[in-house]
Every structure is written in structure tokens, then in C-alpha cells.
Assembly symmetry: C2
Homo-oligomer: 112 residues x 2
């Protein structure tokens, strides 16, 4: 099982591409068949499939084939690793702001 | 001023690199001078400066030079655009789950 940093890495690499991000945005609304996903992009199907494979490898999407139709879904909790990382940075930055605030309070001469 | 999608794009591209992500993590704790930032990486200074420039262009960090010392800080609210985007995807995905839930409730035969 990939560790937290490997997972974060592959999720961010996957989302750094605008086409893949648009696919994730579309799938957050509902699952879709591949032809539906391809429609908004002027892109050959093999290129789209390559993006989908990368999203699947990053654990962001999952797909099922029934007959000749492949349906792609956003994997539940797919973006949790990014939420977690952002939360950690925010906590660090808030602590930093608090320390700065405390410093300013201490540095301000008291009114007498 | 860059629009939301341009900003999101440059932030995600910046964070897709593990070195740049490590710099952001370090700066979330406190501002740092360039030599401090360079210390954990076995990397030539020009490469580090290139990463810092990319982070600065993405609006993630800001830097100030005093004499020969450059101090780099995380820009307040730097990651807000990513928070916003994640929130939007989560809202969409939750609505999808709610609709599925409603569908299941409707599809379940009532007990008589």
C-alpha cells in the first residue's frame, strides 16, 4: 500500500493537469461513461484513456466495464489525502500567526 | 490578476514537485532564510532558487532581501484556492451520495 507521501505525490501530479482536473470535477457530480467524458475535450480517445489510467493509478477514479461500455466513477475519499495535507499546512501557518500575535502583544508597551 | 483556474493551475503545478512541497511545509512553520531552506536538500543553490522562483510566481511564497540575506515566507492565504477547489468537489460528491441515498430509500420496498 502506498504511504501518505507517495499517495499525496501521485494525487498532486494527477491534478496538476487541467484535463485530468476537469475529469475529476465532472466525476464529482456523477459517474460517467468514457464517451461522455471525452465529449468536452477535443482529444483523441487514446489520450483520454491515458489520462484516465493515470487518474486510476493515483487512486482518484475507478472504472467498470459492462459489455462495451466503461463507466468511470470518482473513488470515495479520493481527495482525502490532499485535504489532510492542506489541513496540516494551515495548522502550522495558524500556529505561526498565533506566535506572531503573541509577540506583537508582548512587544506593545502597556498603557499606564 | 490571474483568474481562479489559472491560479489553481499554477498552485497545483508548483505543489506537484516533492521539493517544492517540502519547502512549503517548512515555510508553513516559520519564514526561513535561503540557506536554511537549502540545508535539507542535496541540491545546488541555483536549482533551489529556481524552485523558489516558481513558488513565488504561483503566489505561494514571498521573499525579502536585507543586505545579503533573503528571507522567504509563505504568503498568507496561499493555499486558499486549493481549499476552495477541494470544497467544491466534496460538495458535488456529497450531493451525488445524497442522491444515491434517496434513490436507495425510494427503491427499498416499504415494510407493511
Amino acid at each position: 500500500m502506498p504511504n501518505y507521501y507517495d499517495k499525496l505525490d501521485s494525487v498532486l501530479r494527477a491534478l496538476a493537469d487541467p484535463t485530468r482536473r476537469a475529469i475529476v470535477e465532472r466525476l464529482a457530480k456523477s459517474p460517467a461513461v468514457v464517451s461522455e467524458l471525452a465529449a468536452p475535450f477535443s482529444m483523441a480517445l487514446p489520450s483520454l484513456m491515458q489520462h484516465l489510467r493515470l487518474l486510476e493509478n493515483a487512486g482518484l477514479v475507478t472504472s467498470q466495464k459492462q459489455g462495451r461500455v466503461r463507466t468511470v466513477s470518482l473513488r470515495p475519499g479520493a481527495l482525502d489525502v490532499l485535504h489532510l495535507w492542506l489541513g496540516e499546512q494551515r495548522t502550522s501557518a495558524e500556529r505561526q500567526a498565533d506566535r506572531l500575535g503573541m509577540h506583537l502583544i508582548r512587544a506593545t508597551p502597556k498603557e499606564t
